[in-house]
Symmetry: D2
Subunit: 331 residues, 4 copies
């Protein structure tokens, strides 16, 4: 079903585009995509993402609470404004990339937030990883003002953001998906439609919860096998041809010496930090509690990553759980 | 290093074979393989396994505590004897397939056990799933009598046993592996060498522990995603192209309607029963305790399957954990 | 340190009281306590609590979203108003008793909320069990308007509320504690000061988390002992004279036949429902996640009560976990 | 029901005693108790226990695999023999105190074991903490030889052993309990009859499992409360007057500064070591698996103590789990 907001928005888009480009004999679609795009949140992830938009020819209007974060982008030609509200005043397509739910609430609904000056028909895409309930709230608030809010959290780290190889999991009205995909494709290799607003977050949270379970499971299984006399490489090979196989065993094995080019081969440097995993598992736990869903292993995985943060593993890759579980010498 | 026992055994084999076949101009290897093979334990698994040996031309000498279990095999030409000791008296290659550690101890070291009459140089292959420490004990006891004991537990159920598609994970002296493989290949599609005696058990236990973790993790993740508004098929697709991917999500999905031809599509009938999984997890728990290995998720998985057995899921496929975790009221 | 708000409030109180009562030769303290008290939230708990206030001679001004909840109180002489704001307009001491955090936020900060018309110097006491962070937010909002907010969640159910035997755990400015205690003593047998605002909630959450852990632990321990051949009464006696002793083993034993007058002696009817325990554990989980505190057993206890809700135990007493863990016949 | 073995034994006892003492006009009971007592296993616990027997006037005949362990006792007048069999040859009441199940099996049924030379009517009391199934096996083996085996594990450490304040939990034929109690009372303050053989072990295992759960629960609850702003002493006080109360919160609080005279007040030195707790939890896990009893919290407690052993807490008191769970960074 196409919502009233969407119809209004479609009409506005069409009118504007026709007015601008129709008598130039240029494809509305391709030209339209080159109108300016707002970007709020220029952190480790947002910065390379915004650069990729510029690289694809989009004029970018950006804002960040830390002015120094904007310098690099400014040098590339981006226009830097004081607040999200100001960005919304100038751009009708805005992407946000923020650390957590409270930041998203503030950037959208705060005193200088996007919704203060959002134009009717605007498309607002939030790539932060947050509580899906907050995504839904933002969507409702945006809809009241005639705008569309979509959640589009990413899978992949700073490397994938830089090389434009992120995966976007997108939630929101299906009829808006193509408009979102146009922009997101500049920054990612995969753009997956997940369903109504909030399901992008849900998909990401679910994936990371299962990832954490698989990783800890792989770590304790490999450790047990080694203790029982199995060669780790051989054990990994056997698991990977059997029903124990998972991404953590065959692509990102946590045992040093089993694979190359993964954090376990480099003292657990780089990769996806334990703190970040603990944050995502906290989000999974929170949504599970709110929906009264039993998640026994997800919950224990959360606790183990919490304990690891408390024992000095906060900044190591999350596969360092193998090291955490291994008995020390002399015991 | 080749053990003294092995050298003795090799010599005996060779002498015997040369005496029998050398002047016939026949390949010792292929003919040798057609000497009789002992088989102890003709249960749901042992029966079809022994049949496959007969099918491949091996004369089988069998024994089981339940005489009626032997009938079918007898009709196929197998010779049925009263006790494991009697089998050992006639055959120098014996395969055992028994329910648990105490049975194995009894069949090998009991008053009518194999070791009472085992011949020097015999090859004893145990395909039961048991405590690897028991496998090691049996190997030591066999070695004292000049015989070789190998553990070779299987992956795959009655179906795979019938069609000869089992996977064998083999532990024991490497120089005996080919001799074992010759027989095991008649009953399985994969025969994997895992290392010293007991590592076959270790590999199986490890695989099944990680499998259980992956299955429960997949079940709770899918359930959470559905509660958060995701379509189960779409969620499975997203997980399977992401880092949450595992065998339970992409090959044996526990959510009805996501895949065909799996137990979840058939009310969790068939497949691998919850009781059997609980048994294997108990074994994993036991070996982990003995080796002082922390296995937090494996341990919780064990408890969950224990609770399921207590709540009426004993005979359902282990993927029914999805059903167990799903809320009843209002569904 | 006494805050500015408090000083203002103290002065207002004093002025008002002197003006009203000083020349009557009556103790300001005891008379002051008989001015009207507001009460918002007349549910299962709020209703008997408000009655106890009336019983102690306090004129009550009440409000509830469901008008029918107010009838009984109205017959006892309470004045019923349309909204929390109206209550705040008439009473400068208000008690609230609501189901969850969002209700508290709405009743205090909503369009018809208490803070819309709260008077300077008012004392606002919230007895709901909610997230301590919300309590803190309410306190900050109240302080801006010159009022004092305290959290005072209760321990004890409808029975204790009716008989005036609740325990109140109170958080807020220490210098306000006596004023709060004056009212709370009419409804409870124990009024404990816990520290700054939010610590009342914290104390309650902590107690209930440890209670849940102790209860499940007692249930699984008793079950294991029985399986190992111990008489349940004897086992309880041994535990209670040893280091395994806890409230769940010596006061509220979950095994039928061990104690009288507890829910386990009455098919787990009455007592503290599994749903309510799951709610409190969800709150514990939430605050633990927010403060990055590892709570491995608390977290697993939460999951077990979640699973129980999903398996038909929602309305049974939380000690029914013993029944949940016990194996069914025929397994 | 009095077993045949017991009747035989009673008769032998009676005959012997009458022959020796009846015409001396001395109470059979008190004199009988002064005949020699065997003791096998003179480790940290066994040594002070045997000394207390000597202190009470019993001639002790002892044996240990490490001759140096016997010196001290020898100086006190004990007779030291080479093997358990030799001890059984001379004494018809024997106490054993050994580290684990395999040691018990060896000391009783090994080539130089007690049962090789045990006399009819002997009373064999094992105070080791072991698998109750092994206790039952020993009892069956002893019964075949006309002897009685009882399990009597202790609660209390080296201090209690030295001061004779141990608690004994005794399993075995009820009609033998008084005879056992006569000896055990010399070494302990409490001697509790638990039921058939193995139930002494069961009671000890159950108590320690619930103790571990209560301790970890208390540690995580106290930690959460502190993070939420509660004073630890106040929180302990609140818990101890509420339903969260347990031995670990009111008698052995794990938070430094809350109580005096407990390991948490002394950097977790002394007390009951994490390794020992992990061993007992392993035993609990093992018996739970064998009896198919779900013990979710007991199992997780086991894993946590395993992880602690792996992270450097092996020799600290088991209440150091508070320290283990507390976050390092920023503390």
């Amino acid at each position: 079903m196409i919502s009233q907001v969407h119809l209004t928005r479609l009409k506005l888009y069409k009118d504007k585009r026709i007015k601008h480009y129709s008598d130039l004999g240029i494809s509305i679609r391709s030209m339209a995509s080159k109108t300016q795009v707002g970007f709020v949140g220029l952190g480790n992830m947002g910065n390379p993402m915004a650069k990729n938009l510029i690289k694809h020819g989009y004029p970018v209007i950006a804002s960040d609470v830390f002015p120094e974060s904007c310098k690099e982008l400014q040098e590339l030609g981006a226009q830097i404004l004081d607040s999200p509200a100001d960005v919304a005043d100038k751009a009708d397509r805005i992407i946000t990339m923020l650390p957590s739910s409270p930041n998203v609430i503030d950037v959208y609904t705060g005193p200088n937030g996007i919704l203060k000056k959002v134009k009717k028909g605007s498309l607002l895409i939030d790539s932060s990883t947050i509580d899906p309930a907050v995504s839904k709230d933002m969507a409702v608030a945006a809809e009241k003002l005639g705008a569309v809010f979509m959640d589009a959290p990413v899978s992949g780290g700073v490397g994938a953001a830089t090389s434009g190889k992120l995966t976007f999991m997108v939630g929101g009205p299906e009829e808006e998906f193509n408009a979102a995909k146009e922009l997101l494709s500049c920054m990612g290799a995969n753009v997956v439609y997940c369903g109504q607003v909030g399901t992008g977050q849900a998909a990401k949270i679910c994936n990371n919860m299962l990832l954490a379970i698989g990783m800890i499971g792989t770590a304790e299984t490999m450790n047990l096998g080694i203790r029982l006399g199995l060669d780790p490489k051989l054990l990994a090979k056997i698991l990977n041809m059997s029903s124990g196989r998972c991404w953590s065993s065959d692509t990102y094995n946590p045992v040093p010496g089993v694979m190359e080019g993964v954090p376990s081969a480099n003292n657990y440097q780089g990769g996806f930090g334990t703190t970040l995993m603990a944050k995502d598992l906290g989000l999974a736990q929170y949504t599970a509690t709110n929906t009264k869903t039993p998640v026994p292993l997800g919950s224990l995985a959360h606790q183990i990553y919490r304990m690891m943060c408390a024992r000095g593993y906060a900044s190591k890759d999350f596969s360092s759980v193998f090291q955490f579980l291994r008995e020390e010498e002399g015991q």
